[in-house]
Symmetry: C2
Subunit: 335 residues, 2 copies
DNA sequence: TTGAAAGCGCTAACAA
DNA sequence: TTGTTAGCGCTTTCAA
């Protein structure tokens, strides 16, 4: 609802003394435009303050000039988890200078999936980045049928054939945590694992267990959370009841780890003296706990960047391969 | 880039045995369509899985069917602050069932403002909700010129004439905190105020100071932050140096308050025994600190809901008045 | 209550 | 290298 009629390409063409077609070519940097026309059009564009009409362009190009970031989680979950937040921020930032708009589609499995599916089928978007993927979300049907360029952030559970993904090496990240704790002399090690219907949850647990067994230690002390803060607290409670003698816990996300630390400390148990704690993600919160949290770095910014790059490549018709990023451990004082 | 051609209105019309015009009317619930045609069209729509093409509709209606949520802050700030997060989540949720898309436009004052301004001028959106507003952001120029329906969340600093806003009563909220602390017998009271180029920052400080003076107490103990976590920590440090004898601090945001609490506790000072702490916002984090944070409730969900309602009203040509919501205090154990 | 026809602003054949 | 022309899918006069 602009105040006055916005200048159209027709206006630009008239002012530059060329046809609308030439103006269009100039605006779209088509090489077969004379230098002179190019300059004239550019001048007219800036004098008039011309901006292409997105809808008109979409209509003929059959492109929306937007990508969807899909998060199959409840809205409040998405914003409560710093991992998503950082992910979204990075993706947005990466696309800040391009004309591509970022659309955020969230929704829990319930009605949410339908909404998301409808959305992806609607042709409102040229591509999708799917961020948190559970085994049963099953977006692969839509994705394949619509042939919509898409990339997963986080390996899809069942390995969605033909749809690339970017992920960190979750298994070796968890192993890093295990080795670090073992090297400290901890012997009664537990883990609060993530949801097992997500590759990140399953892979971290697998890496952890393997490393423990390799060291000849018991890998049986496991409780499960869903990466949320409250689930971390509950899991920690259960762990403390089951194995009061444990001396180290690897928690599969910082969000859960922070809650777990509160849980431990509220019982008067000292961190790291009595129980060492290691998290995963290296979110901002990891630096704010007392003691600050030792954690496995999840390079969110790079993950986001690579995902955007892959998607762009696909949207340009290229074919791409999955990307695996390595992690490392930040040693702070919690363990 | 759909796999096959999506059904168009033409297809629907053909199948329903009516003209495209009638099909259009039926789809848009125009009353002057015979019952019989209406039914036929509805059937064709669902059989074909027809979805109106957004771009085509936009082109003729000159409406984008989207609203922008504008946050004039750096991307990482937006996501690091639970207040924004909750705000965005609530707005998105409110619009979940409508065809209106939510576009998120962020950007710091530097290049960001230009981007945002260009964006609002581009006609890409039918309305805007501006969430965090600083004195010098000066979006009012664009807003007035473009006559774009807009509403501020948080009273704009200088009272942007003609553009409505929704806000909590920040002054009385801060007074609530003051009275609560005073009633406890605290006498050496300080505050970590928010940025003074935002109404929320200025109003909370004013309300606090007034309440202190009304009780005959010194209102001079003030340090400033910018609502961010790190600024809260620094402000607390300064306060502790300036006035080692203080016995209560009102912190103008939970994000700052949590950091301030860590700062206090890391010096071995007991909360609330030696220093009482009261925050503002009642974000999730307020429940996670030890001790849990007493804080002033900022009803984000309602704020968001009212903002959306106002905006919709304006987009329908209605005129609206600013809305002020009342706050209350949650007493937990930090103060 | 309906249909025919025009046109939103743009891009892309096609012809020159 | 350029202009003419058609047409993307939709809504909306205008006439019937």
């Amino acid at each position: 609802m602009p105040a006055r009629r916005l200048p159209t390409l027709e206006d630009v063409a008239a002012r530059a003394g060329v046809s609308r077609a030439t103006a269009s070519r100039a605006v779209n940097l088509d090489p077969r435009v004379r230098q002179q026309s190019r300059v004239a059009v550019a001048a007219a564009v800036s004098e008039l303050g011309y901006r292409p009409n997105r809808a008109a362009r979409s209509l003929v190009n059959r492109e929306a000039d937007s990508i969807a970031v899909v998060v199959p989680e409840a809205e409040d979950r998405v914003f409560a988890d710093p991992f998503f937040a950082a992910m979204l921020a990075s993706i947005t930032q990466r696309l800040a200078d391009s004309p591509v708009q970022v659309l955020l589609a969230m929704g829990q499995p319930g009605d949410g999936r339908q909404k998301i599916e409808r959305y992806l089928r609607g042709g409102y978007t040229d591509g999708a980045i799917i961020v948190s993927h559970h085994r049963d979300d099953d977006l692969s049907g839509v994705l394949h049928e619509t042939k919509l360029p898409a990339v997963y952030v986080g390996r899809p559970y069942a390995g969605d054939v033909g749809i690339p993904w970017v992920d960190v090496d979750n298994g070796s990240g968890a192993a890093l945590a295990a080795e670090h704790l073992i090297a400290q002399g901890r012997r009664r090690l537990a883990t609060i694992a993530g949801p097992q219907d997500m590759a990140a949850g399953a892979d971290r647990l697998a890496g952890w267990s393997t490393a423990l067994r390799a060291a000849g230690l018991d890998a049986g002390l496991v409780e499960y959370g869903d990466f949320s803060s409250s689930s971390g607290a509950t899991a920690m409670q259960r762990l403390l009841e089951t194995a009061p003698d444990l001396d180290a816990v690897f928690v599969a996300s910082d969000l859960m780890a922070v809650a777990a630390m509160h849980e431990v400390q509220s019982r008067g148990i000292a961190v790291p003296e009595q129980i060492a704690l290691v998290g995963f993600d290296d979110t901002h919160a990891a630096q704010l706990t007392r003691p600050p949290l030792t954690t496995v770095i999840n390079p969110v910014g790079e993950l986001a960047g690579r995902a955007v790059d892959l998607l762009m490549e696909m949207m340009n018709g290229g074919s791409v391969e999955p990307v695996v990023l390595q992690t490392s451990l930040v040693r702070r004082t919690s363990g």
